[in-house]
């Protein structure tokens, strides 16, 4: 009974992975097809032309640079805001807390297009023209909420009596933050920064309405996909997928090595305990 069940479950998992990866493989494969349209079928022979065209495309490089700059700016603004918001909300309770919390997470649930449009209209009223700076502000409005949630979760395990002790022993407020609060929050801040960076790179909806005439990579990909479409976009897709795969592999290898070290240490501990008993 359990055997059949497990077999079916494993089969389902396998099919699900196939469902997730096959479309990506087909898209990547089309990058090598010597066909003017992006497709794997009909196959017209192997070519590297699309990669050469892609790397020679100046617009792509500008978009790439813009994407990175926007993402860095978002990290720099959203992480402090999110951390401050978490510290603030952690110290209050009752209705005010519920209201503030609702206000803070609302942008996560709001459609990106609406965030983009409201940002555009508001800053336009203040005579600030659209451009990537508005994209940054629009993205921060919801990405800060992700950072807030991560930091808030981390604060639950924070022992605030440590701060009391430091204050009693004569530490200044700045020292309390630098030496006690921040070190405890580092993992959450790091995770928040990573999420903020990737969310920003991924973002399309907010950017489309606020960008003015500048391009980011997602907007560039979108305009390519909609207009002329040549397989250069598949070449770009393949490069991005490969980058993701490399990152994932590095992460996995490191995780396994750490797990192995951990297991070895545990085994050694058991051996030592056994020797002691003798």
């Amino acid at each position: 009974m359990h055997k059949t069940r497990n077999f079916l479950f494993n089969l389902y998992f396998g099919l699900f992975l196939l469902y997730l990866f096959l479309p990506l493989a087909i898209m990547g494969g089309a990058a090598f097809n010597n066909n003017k349209l992006p497709s794997v079928y009909p196959w017209k022979g192997f070519t590297m032309t699309w990669f050469q065209q892609l790397l020679a495309d100046q617009v792509m490089w500008t978009s790439f640079r813009n994407t990175i700059l926007v993402a860095l700016a978002v990290v720099v603004i959203a992480v402090p805001i999110g951390a401050a918001a978490a510290i603030l909300i952690n110290s209050i309770s009752g209705r005010v807390r519920a209201a503030l919390y609702g206000l803070m997470v609302a942008p996560i649930l709001m459609p990106g297009a609406v965030i983009g449009i409201s940002t555009l209209l508001f800053w336009n009223k203040a005579s600030i023209p659209p451009g990537l700076h508005l994209s940054v502000l629009g993205q921060v409005s919801y990405i800060a909420a992700f950072v807030m949630l991560l930091v808030l979760a981390r604060l639950q395990s924070f022992d605030s009596s440590l701060e009391e002790a430091a204050l009693d022993l004569g530490a200044s407020h700045a020292q309390v933050v630098r030496r006690i609060l921040l070190p405890h929050l580092y993992p959450a801040l790091g995770a928040g920064a990573a999420i903020a960076f990737f969310q920003s790179i991924e973002n399309f909806n907010v950017t489309l309405f606020t960008r003015g005439t500048s391009n980011t990579l997602t907007v560039y990909v979108f305009s390519k996909v909609r207009s002329g479409i040549t397989p250069t976009i598949n070449a770009l897709a393949l490069l991005l997928i490969l980058m993701t795969l490399v990152m994932a592999t590095v992460y996995e290898v490191r995780r396994r090595r750490l797990a192995k070290v951990e297991a070895a240490r545990e085994a050694e501990g058991r051996r030592a305990a056994a020797l002691e008993e003798l």
């Binding site: 998992f13 009909p42 510290i87 409201s118 990909v221 996909v225 997928i241 995780r255």
Partner: protein
């Protein structure tokens, strides 16, 4: 609050408050108020803004009800304004996409949470995360390649004799929105899977075993024990997938056809093509209303708190 002052002193506490105030006021509240205010103003050339014609009215919202056109709902011929039709279709097909992602995710979430060996779990989760890191534009584009008229799907189906001649998938087979729903499900299925996985994981395995020992059939165990426990995860996943689907602009633009308009596309036309930001604002406000209703509905239906949904 006094606690903060005592711990971090005045300067730092004020700095924290200033950061939060900037976020909530300048990035969230005021932009939305501006949007709301602009939605009642007419679209005018720059020189006439603030002039006698610049008065508040509901004209922009009235545009929503203009242009009645025939609409075939499951064989019944109706007359409905074009934008209303688009709005309702967006809600309907986003709901369909939400249900499909749930059906696909639930077995997988249960498998990862309760069946798999804990040792291989991190690798499996990493594998699932990889496609999530690939940009949404590219994931929609991948399906565009698969579904095109001269694409691999038609070639395979005709090749094995399942189809006599290729199909225009993007025009739709069952409905005009087939390709869009396929793309939405593919793009957002993991936003349903991970919350459900998280909530099933916290279920004590003993409860499942107790239910089995007491003679429950496997589907009874799921229906009476596991599903109720997974409720917060299902609520969170459903709201996420619905909002992402209804708010998606990439998927419908890449995979849609002329007879599958999405409401985000309507807004985009007003904003970027007609440059009529006021009507765009009015339509955006309708989206905010929809969003509020959906979240409230999910909280009421699943009896969960907002903090369970936004995680």
């Amino acid at each position: 609050m006094e606690d903060l002052f005592r711990r971090y002193g005045h300067t730092l506490t004020f700095a924290f408050m200033a950061l939060v105030a900037f976020w909530l006021l300048a990035l969230v509240i005021l932009p939305n108020l501006t949007l709301f205010e602009a939605s009642f103003r007419p679209y005018l050339p720059v020189t006439e803004i603030g002039g006698p014609k610049d008065t508040y009215s509901l004209d922009n919202y009235a545009k929503f009800l203009r242009n009645p056109s025939p609409w075939n709902v499951f064989g019944i011929e109706l007359q409905a304004p074009l934008n209303v039709k688009t709005f309702l279709s967006t809600i309907f097909y986003s709901t369909i996409a939400t249900f499909i992602t749930f059906a696909l995710s639930y077995p997988l979430a249960y498998y990862l949470a309760k069946v798999v060996q804990p040792k291989s779990l991190p690798t499996m989760i990493l594998l699932l995360f990889i496609p999530l890191w690939v940009s949404e534009a590219l994931r929609a584009f991948a399906w565009y390649i698969i579904l095109t008229f001269n694409g691999p799907l038609n070639a395979v189906l005709v090749g094995i004799g399942l189809l006599e001649k290729p199909i225009r998938w993007q025009q739709g087979v069952l409905t005009g929105y087939d390709a869009v729903v396929i793309g939405l499900v593919y793009s957002y299925v993991l936003f349903m899977m991970f919350p459900i996985y998280g909530s099933i994981q916290s279920l004590d395995r003993n409860q499942i075993e107790a239910s089995e020992d007491l003679g429950a059939k496997w589907w009874q165990t799921h229906w009476r024990v596991i599903l109720p426990h997974a409720k917060p995860g299902i609520a969170s996943g459903s709201v996420m997938v619905f909002m992402l689907s209804a708010g998606s602009l990439l998927v419908p633009s890449v995979l849609g056809s002329t007879n599958s308009n999405w409401f985000t596309q309507t807004i985009q036309q007003w904003m970027l093509e007609s440059q009529d930001w006021n009507t765009g604002a009015a339509y955006s406000f309708l989206y905010i209303l929809l969003c509020t209703v959906v979240v409230a509905l999910a909280m009421w239906l699943f009896k969960v708190k907002l903090s369970d949904i936004a995680k």
